[in-house]
Symmetry: C2
Subunit: 268 residues, 2 copies
């Protein structure tokens, strides 16, 4: 089997089992999963970029009898499409934490011992108030480095007493380096990254609550998605619940209907 | 008087007194200073970039009867030319701190409570050991942000006990934001930035010890300077003291002599 070139620049052997798990996550028909794998294996060459494999999968799913299944497949990229700024990502994390039973407030200015800080999200549950630092990256292959854990800890130390905070969380849409994770855990920080902790990672939480970002909707252009995200419409669900949230885009009715029906498919 | 456009993007009125102070720093003949100012005033137009003013000054000084005086004038840019990586800057700061009476060790791995850290410089004087975080930027107009002060503090907190460290310093070649400075001072960090503290800023220390970086030498190309800096030849003085340090460049003799004589001019 040939090698594949990852977004991080690393090269590793093509792994069929890994591809199967990744495609299965889309929740599509098992026969279709096997067809995707046969299709991809016919496209492989030495050092094929994973990005190209991903593109072949999306194309294959789009042509399949299940035209919407790729909306769920491209989750990692859809989260990155919430950028370029980090604000929609903060709104998005806030929605996920609400589903986990937290009261949330985004972008709060809290006074610390030394200076005041803008805290991405302040959460509260069972009378414990905590700060959440959201670290958004929109370049594939990026990992959150140890600096992020370090400055989050120092920020928490500065504000915790004056604001009666119990916990500090670091939430990121990427993976996190071993140093950044070890420092954070050793400092009693709670970490949620793309694939950590097992069964309760960022990806798991999205799937558990079916909180797909508005950017998964392939019937919208990237500009339209960003316009919605800037107006705090960050969930595909918001459009199912309230089709009027599309009004700011000024779409013709047939276009509006196709966005709405894609959205309903995801939540069927 | 027209406005000028600063590297940071800010616009402010042209200030003759500020220009005079800046040119006087080059330590050139007072008559020449006045000639530079007359020359620059003839070149002004609305929103002229400060970078262009700087270029006119360098050109004027190069054509003047004091051809080497511009080596001292372009100090800020010369420091940035130590990049793109931060290693030569660390070596350079280490040399300055030696002149201030410290024993120094660059790039030391120290074990903390949680993880191990690479510390840019560990310094010692009067039996007090301290860590120095060097923050190098090579884009004009950049300022060190509050994140830098925060992660430096958290890093210090992680290693101070196990390594018996007394102080933490943050040294940067740029200016520092008010938040970053206030947090650092409030957290008992020592800060040296381009213009802080008054009379003992980074710029002042360089001039006090005449520790001009090797990148001030206009008779070398940018590539040659970087090659020297990578080999830890970071001071113009090193070339005066030891002309053989130029050998790695494989220059012809006449070229070597002109670099050496420029160097001697700076230290005359």
């Amino acid at each position: 089997m040939p090698n594949v070139l990852k977004a991080s620049g690393q090269i590793e052997p093509f792994n069929e089992a890994k591809l199967r798990v990744s495609v299965q996550r889309a929740g599509i028909d098992p026969i279709l999963v096997e067809n995707v794998i046969i299709h991809i294996k016919s496209k492989l060459y030495e050092n094929i970029p994973t990005k190209e494999i991903y593109k072949h999968i999306l194309e294959f799913l789009q042509k399949s009898p299940y035209p919407f299944s790729h909306a769920k497949y491209g989750l990692k990229q859809s989260i990155m499409d919430l950028g370029p700024t980090g604000y929609p990502f903060e709104d998005y994390i806030s929605e996920i934490l609400k589903m986990e039973g937290y009261a949330t407030q985004v972008r709060q200015i809290l006074q610390g011992k030394c200076i005041s800080h803008e805290i991405d999200i302040v959460v509260e549950k069972n009378k414990t108030r905590s700060m959440v630092e959201c670290k958004f990256h929109n370049a594939p292959g990026t990992r959150s480095q140890v600096h992020v854990s370090l400055y989050t800890k120092a920020r928490f130390d500065d504000i915790k007493e004056k604001n009666n905070l119990g916990e500090v969380w670091l939430v990121t849409n990427t993976k996190i380096t071993p140093d950044a994770l070890n420092y954070a855990l050793c400092s009693n920080m709670k970490v949620i990254s793309w694939d950590y902790p097992e069964k309760e990672s960022f990806r798991d939480l999205i799937e558990k609550h079916k909180l797909y970002p508005v950017t998964t909707l392939t019937s919208l252009t990237q500009n339209q998605k960003q316009l919605l995200a800037e107006k705090h419409v960050v969930l595909a669900r918001d459009i199912c619940k309230n089709p009027a949230s599309l009004d700011i885009l000024g779409l013709p009715n047939d276009k509006k209907n196709s966005v709405f029906s894609e959205c309903q498919f995801i939540y069927k």
